[in-house]
């Protein structure tokens, strides 16, 4: 909530232009129940009867963060293999079964988790639960299918990464900024590692990570919770408990002790400069002020980086970035795309100057309020659909291991002050903790 002192400050700052003077609107809290089955599976149910549809999301707590070198990209390749059929489901038919009743389904893999989802007319909830339980318990593993799918994933990599201007930006950044933690490599993996995947890898991965205690089933939509719980128990309750605990031995990234710099050449139309700092994990007390910093620097045309580099100085055609807050400590990064005739050194200086400004002078109260209002907007418009609600609930349960975090963050943000922002800026935006990368177009400077 806005406190009175803040409120006056805000009034004074806002006198010149008309702005609403109420405290920010707050959204309704999510209502849900969470249960753990005897086999370790966690189940979150949240009823919403506004439309007769239901969204089911099955989160597995495994992603590219769990991959070892030599098998990069495997978590994502495995996600594709989950569509190759199970004991009662024909290969490649999962999607068409869901489509044939008017539903949609898909899956995605991230650093920390892999998510399978269905959105469908509410009466088909039993079908979706049955399909997901079938492939959790009994995946079909077939060599030809694996070989074909490796080719499909290689096409996906070409499409999204290799054949796209700036497609390799993330890959370059994380490779240069990390030495040890698996965040060093991209989720899509390398072509060589994809080709190395074997049938045994597929079987092991399923046995190790696709087990009830490593999964969270979230259902949001038009259903009766007692009936849904009975259905979930019927289909998922019979999946046996894992024989061994899920491994959690992820190598830690050692602290960075001096600035890292790199110059890379790519087939890109315009050069880019990236400045990045190691930060904390999502949910660490410092993660909240860092999230506000990303709003202050990058969100909207009045944000500092956009106004300074793109609008006023016109030394960048775009300046974007983010606090990449995920399960293990990751990066706060800023990227500027540089127009013809501008110097990368000037852009680097301007990017770093904005980080330094946060350390030397406290952000004014009005700017903090703006960032909080933007956070609240994301929060509110990010919870319109069942799918979005399920995402927030499951993310809290899987990544924070605490479903109540799905709503608790509002109060934390409300209470942040300019001093919190200055403190985290001083802690993390230091030269020794920095990575600077210049990406230059390959041999055709000024060609077009």
């Amino acid at each position: 909530m806005l406190r009175p002192a803040h409120f006056l400050l805000l009034l004074a700052a806002a006198a010149a232009i008309v702005v609403p003077l109420q405290a920010a609107v707050h959204p309704p809290k999510l209502e849900y129940q969470i249960t753990t089955l005897p086999n370790g599976l966690r189940v979150i149910l949240s009823e919403d009867h506004s439309t007769p549809i239901v969204h089911l999301a099955v989160w597995y707590h495994v992603g590219s963060r769990n991959e070892r070198s030599g098998r990069t990209g495997f978590a994502h390749l495995f996600e594709h293999m989950m569509f190759k059929g199970s004991k009662n489901v024909q290969p490649e038919s999962h999607t068409s079964i869901i489509a044939s009743i008017g539903g949609r389904s898909n899956a995605y893999t991230q650093e920390d988790a892999t998510v399978f989802w269905e959105t469908l007319p509410a009466q088909y909830l039993p079908l979706a639960l049955w399909l997901e339980a079938d492939r959790m318990a009994t995946l079909r593993v077939d060599r030809d299918a694996l070989e074909k799918e490796v080719e499909v994933v290689k096409e996906e990599r070409r499409l999204r990464v290799d054949n796209q201007p700036y497609g390799r930006l993330n890959e370059i950044l994380f490779d240069k900024a990390f030495t040890t933690h698996p965040y060093k490599h991209p989720t899509i993996g390398s072509m060589k590692d994809l080709e190395a995947a074997s049938i045994d890898d597929v079987r092991d991965f399923h046995n190790t990570f696709y087990v009830p205690e490593n999964a969270v089933v979230t259902v949001v939509g038009d259903f009766d919770s007692a009936q849904a719980m009975q259905l979930v128990t019927q289909y998922f309750g019979r999946v046996p408990k894992a024989a061994r605990p899920v491994p959690r031995d992820i190598p830690r990234e050692p602290e960075q002790t001096q600035e890292r710099r790199a110059v890379v050449q790519e087939e890109w139309p315009l050069p880019a400069v990236v400045v990045a700092y190691h930060i904390v994990y999502d949910g660490h007390p410092d993660s909240y002020p860092l999230h506000l910093v990303s709003k202050i620097l990058f969100d909207g045309e009045s944000s500092r980086m956009t106004r300074e580099l793109v609008y006023d100085k016109r030394i960048a055609v775009a300046a974007f970035g983010s606090a990449n807050l995920i399960e293990d400590p990751n990066l706060f990064y800023a990227v500027a795309i540089i127009p013809a005739g501008q110097s990368a050194q000037d852009v680097e200086r301007a990017l770093i100057a904005e980080f330094d400004r946060l350390k030397t002078a406290p952000v004014d109260g009005r700017e903090v309020e703006r960032a909080k209002n933007q956070f609240m907007r994301d929060y509110i418009i990010g919870r319109e659909s069942n799918e979005q609600k399920a995402l927030h609930l499951a993310h809290a349960a899987v990544i924070h291991n605490d479903v109540t975090r799905a709503d608790a963050e509002i109060d934390i943000f409300d209470n942040l002050t300019p001093a919190d922002i200055q403190r985290v800026a001083r802690s993390y935006f230091t030269p020794n903790n920095r990575t600077v990368i210049y990406i230059q177009p390959m041999g055709r400077a000024g060609a077009r």
Binding site: A24, Q90, G102, G103, T119, Y124, P126, S302, I381, E384
Partner: protein, 498 residues
């Protein structure tokens, strides 16, 4: 509109069971040994899905206003559409609609660009303006306590843009930079060249952002003229969507737009797109590791009696819930990450296009399989089952399309924008279910002419040239990225001899 049952339910059993193995016959790594062999569970009783309430009114100045009320989240979305886009760019003024829209929120007669950004960002809102081929837009999302400010901002940017020289230069630089980046994006190049083949010099065939030359020539007066002609209330649609009452919504629309007078619109001057003819263009990008493929033809505009049957035919070829192309190119051959076909039905004309990307050495194979699927659809009657599945998906997914307030508003705006009968809103399922295999065959024969397809390939031409010749597609044109000129009849920059 009452609907007696959800279409597709009756077909449920047949479609689902046919896709299952009754017994596990393939080698399975069944980790759970005593897992039962069983059929999928039956559905629960269905609850009726009704199109949610909305209200349409027309202001005395001709502006159509739609209110969709939705009170779950305390936010309101404001969407204003102008019935003019790059299709209204006059000759030699390519990019004027796009640049005009980009300048809307970059300063008005009473607010500077920075003040607009400060105001919208401070309230935690979002404001965006832009243009497409047939329309331009100004959209805002605000929290409910900022609704009045949101309306005032949207009205100010569409009514009173300042078009200062300084901001025009800034936006031109932005457009030029994004054009330079787009040139390296194979799918962008494939799309613009494909549109140019289909529509020729019809406005739909020309790039909406303009070209470097046309942008350089645009003046402040051009933008003011475009704005004066087309940004008038009788040429606009406004949707107010979210946590407001209907009285609040219409009162706000009246407050910010009511006093704006109606203005006569310029007569529309539309040219006909050229008839379909076989043309194959290869845009050479030697550094490409994949080839972007586009195959298609001129078809029908959105407002057309054949639209529903035609849309189903194209969905069978490559849409959600069916998709022969995906089945063949990805599932059967592993040639691509994705393949799809879309009806691009616009206001004056429409086309359909199949899109896929494949590695360089399978370019010919993927193209051959794609063309074969076009011929297959034109030649053979679609099976009852396949059509039923496509219909079941489309009709069955109706409740998924009315979940959020913006989805609801989009459906109403679409009907108003394309001037379709208002009775179409909420009767989607009935119209889908009415299509028969004969309808699909009739439209497929009528609009698919396999010998007159337009084909665009963007990739490493030298590496796949021999594949094209083997396919009997030897009559292709190769254009290097550097010499590509969409404004030239040959698509190549004119070479001036000294």
């Amino acid at each position: 509109m009452k609907v007696s049952r959800v279409a597709g339910v009756g077909k449920w059993a047949a479609s689902v069971y046919a896709l299952l193995y009754v017994l596990a016959v393939a080698p399975a790594a069944a980790q759970v040994r005593d897992w039962p062999t069983e059929a999928p569970p039956r559905p629960l009783p269905a609850r009726e899905a009704q199109f949610p309430p909305y209200e349409i009114r027309t202001l005395p100045n001709g502006m159509q206003v739609v209110a969709v009320l939705h009170h779950e989240q305390p936010a309101v979305s404001i969407r204003l559409l102008v019935r003019a886009g790059s299709a209204q760019d006059s000759k030699g003024k390519g990019g004027v609609a796009n640049l005009t829209a980009a300048l809307l929120d970059q300063g008005t007669t009473t607010r500077s660009a920075q003040e607009i950004a400060d105001q919208i960002d401070f309230i935690g809102g979002d404001l965006g303006t832009g243009a497409g081929t047939d329309l331009s837009f100004a959209n805002a999302v605000v929290m409910k306590d900022s609704f009045d400010l949101g309306m005032s901002l949207v009205a100010d940017v569409v009514r009173n843009p300042a078009f200062t020289q300084e901001e025009i230069e800034r936006q031109k630089d932005q457009v030029l930079s994004s054009l330079r980046v787009s040139v390296d994006d194979p799918s962008y190049i494939a799309d613009v060249v494909f549109d140019r083949l289909i529509y020729g010099f019809h406005p739909y065939g020309l790039p909406g952002s303009g070209t470097e030359e046309s942008l350089a020539a645009l003046t402040r007066a051009d933008l003011q003229e475009f704005h004066r002609q087309y940004y008038v209330p009788n040429n606009m649609l406004l949707a107010i969507v979210g946590d407001v009452t209907s009285d609040e919504a219409f009162a706000a629309a009246e407050r910010v737009f009511g006093a704006w007078p109606r203005v006569a619109l310029p007569p529309s001057s539309s040219t006909e797109p050229p008839p379909s003819a076989r043309r194959i263009v290869v845009v050479n990008k030697p550094d490409a590791v994949q080839t972007s493929i586009r195959v298609g033809q001129l078809a029908i505009p959105r407002k057309h009696d054949d639209y529903m049957a035609w849309d189903l035919a194209v969905k069978i070829l490559g849409g959600e819930g069916a998709n022969r192309l995906h089945q063949v190119l990805r599932s059967q051959y592993g040639l691509t990450y994705g393949a799809e076909a879309d009806t691009e039905a616009r206001k004056d004309a429409g086309d359909f296009v199949a899109k896929t990307d494949t590695r360089t050495d399978t370019t010919g194979q993927a193209l051959r399989l794609t063309i074969d699927e076009f011929a297959h659809l034109a030649r053979e009657r679609v099976g009852e089952r396949e059509l039923a599945d496509a219909q079941a998906y489309l009709a069955g997914s109706f409740p998924l399309t009315i979940e959020t307030p913006d989805q609801i508003a989009t459906q109403v705006l679409n009907v108003l924008f394309f001037e379709l009968p208002v009775s179409e809103i909420g009767t989607f399922r009935e119209r889908v279910s009415a299509v028969t295999p004969d309808d699909v065959q009739r439209v497929a024969r009528r609009y698919i002419r396999p010998d007159r397809l337009s084909i665009v390939l963007v990739g490493n031409a030298r590496a796949f040239a021999s594949q094209l010749i083997e396919l009997g597609l030897g009559g292709y044109e190769v254009i290097s990225l550097d010499e590509l000129d969409l404004m030239s009849p040959t698509l190549k920059k004119e070479r001036r001899r000294p």
